[in-house]
């Protein structure tokens, strides 16, 4: 629990602070407006019809992409990095997962269903889920094209040939067969399913509410030792 950040430039009076704070507020408001515009632009993306019949393994048996909507017209999938046969549990994905059950109590009442999907077999998923105490639906795409089609898993031969790229080509994958991301799907009255959006890399950061809090803290994310180097699985922190 060390801190590497310097003290602030100055300690000041309430009036001086207020003037600086109001100047920052104007910039914050400008960014809110731009974010609103960006969200509107995101909703304009065209949709791509999904014709491949993906089947996932879930605790209640096999289920299709359509089943994951559970009566809603929109579905968010979190691509949780869990590689078949590996005992490594991704800290960053777990950090995101710690936020999901709280949030989905609400957004699932706004016509948005949720599922986490990983390439590991179901038994491996269930083990992690029980350990971490999460209750969201979490399915296995093992043996399907799903993870590859949505840009979060990579074949060893593609990695070897330097053909495996992540986040729309911004990053070449050197070793990891699985990466993280979020994909959104929509279903119409005829039961057709469309892919509307996917995001990767820092695009998943807004799902980490704890970072939003740290961004308001005096020392910020305070990651001089490396991005998320301080982070642990929530049951692996030393007791106070």
């Amino acid at each position: 629990m060390k801190t590497n950040m310097p003290s602030p430039a100055k300690v000041t009076s309430r009036d001086e602070w207020l003037a600086a704070r109001k100047a920052l507020l104007a910039k914050e408001k400008a960014l809110f407006r731009e974010l609103d515009a960006l969200r509107a632009e995101r909703r304009q993306l065209p949709w791509v019809r999904i014709d491949k019949p993906y089947v996932f393994a879930g605790p209640q048996g096999p289920c299709t992409l359509a089943d994951l909507f559970r009566g809603r017209s929109q579905l968010a999938v979190y691509h949780f990095m869990l590689t078949p046969g590996s005992d490594h549990v991704c800290k960053g994905c777990s950090y995101i997962a710690d936020h999901i059950d709280g949030a989905r109590q609400h957004f699932e009442h706004a016509d948005l269903a949720f599922a986490a999907i990983s390439r590991a077999p179901l038994g491996q998923i269930e083990q992690v889920r029980r350990r971490m105490g999460w209750s969201f639906p979490w399915l296995s795409s093992n043996g399907t094209d799903f993870n590859y089609d949505f840009g979060v898993s990579f074949k060893p031969e593609d990695i070897a040939a330097g053909r495996a790229t992540y986040n729309y080509g911004s990053q070449t994958i050197k070793s990891s067969e699985d990466m993280h991301g979020t994909s959104i799907f929509a279903k119409n009255e005829r039961g057709e399913i469309f892919h509307t959006y996917s995001t990767y890399a820092r695009g998943d950061e807004v799902l980490m509410g704890a970072f939003a809090w740290l961004d308001l803290a005096p020392k910020g994310r305070n990651e001089a030792d490396g991005v998320m180097s301080w982070l642990r699985l929530h049951d692996e922190y030393e007791a106070d």
């Binding site: 600086a20 995101r42 065209p46 710690d98 936020h99 016509d111 820092r202 950061e205 020392k219």
Partner: protein, 261 residues
């Protein structure tokens, strides 16, 4: 939903790549604002605030629990509320799981409200939350950080919320974060808190950040209204969904008050 434009994978990808550039640009702008936030000057706190907590009376220093930074969520729960604000409750559902991460990164976290501790404890049990929640009842803390106003201030005006001076209050619908929403969010929230509108909006939502150095506590930052948007856990998900927030008023409820689907 069915009238939405569809496209080929290639058409989608072209549009998506264009959007990605805009997303990356705003992510960088957010990073830059966080840097500017960290560069704000600090104001020394000399007042000896007192709180009631699960482990007894506490000072502001005690809320740091040995950390050098303290983040406070100002949860709207006035002494006359029958239940905690339902909107703050939906925000709290988003942050309940994160205190363990912050606590292990030199950041203490506490929710503070003006209702008496017993009321806060009962509501916290009902909602199943585990974050620390302190009562500031009887002290100046909420008033000094602009999240509670007295009946006199409400009647006479002149108080500041969200860095804006407010006129004397008349029955109207302008409760900070709620003023960008359609519908009647303040009245709906007041009803869910079991109180009238005037009583409900004598409390306001916000967050404040404090830092401690060599035994001295400083106030670093506060935000209100839409400044809390990034802390509201359900929105980053809805903001990626095709229909977005799709709001015509307050659709959310306390998590134990939704109709069983």
């Amino acid at each position: 939903m069915t009238t939405h434009t569809t496209g080929t994978r290639e058409e989608w990808l072209a549009a998506r790549l264009e959007l990605l550039d805009a997303e990356k640009e705003l992510t960088r702008r957010g990073d830059e604002l966080a840097r500017q936030r960290q560069a704000l000057p600090w104001v020394r706190i000399d007042k000896a605030y007192r709180f009631e907590t699960d482990v007894g009376g506490a000072t502001l220093a005690d809320l740091f629990q040995g950390r050098s930074q303290l983040l406070v969520y100002h949860f709207m729960f006035g002494p006359d509320y029958k239940a905690g604000c339902a909107t703050c409750s939906s925000i709290a559902d988003g942050f309940d799981g994160i205190a363990v991460h912050l606590a292990n990164h030199d950041v203490a976290f506490s929710v503070v409200s003006r209702a008496p501790l017993a009321k806060l404890q009962a509501y916290k049990r009902r909602m199943g939350w585990s974050f620390p929640w302190a009562s500031s009842q009887g002290g100046d803390f909420n008033g000094d950080f602009n999240v509670s106003i007295t009946e006199t201030q409400q009647r006479e005006g002149g108080v500041e919320y969200n860095y804006r001076r407010e006129p004397a209050w008349q029955s109207r619908d302008d409760g900070g974060m709620a003023n960008s929403m359609s519908g009647n969010p303040v009245a709906d929230n007041a009803a869910m808190a079991g109180t009238d509108v005037a009583t409900y909006i004598r409390e306001r939502p916000g967050m404040s950040a404090f830092v401690r150095e060599d035994g001295v506590i400083y106030h670093a930052y506060s935000t209100y209204g839409r400044g809390l948007d990034s802390l509201w856990g359900m929105y980053p998900w809805l903001d990626r969904a095709p229909r977005g927030r799709n709001e015509t008023g307050v659709w959310w409820r306390r998590h134990d008050e939704y109709d069983k689907a």
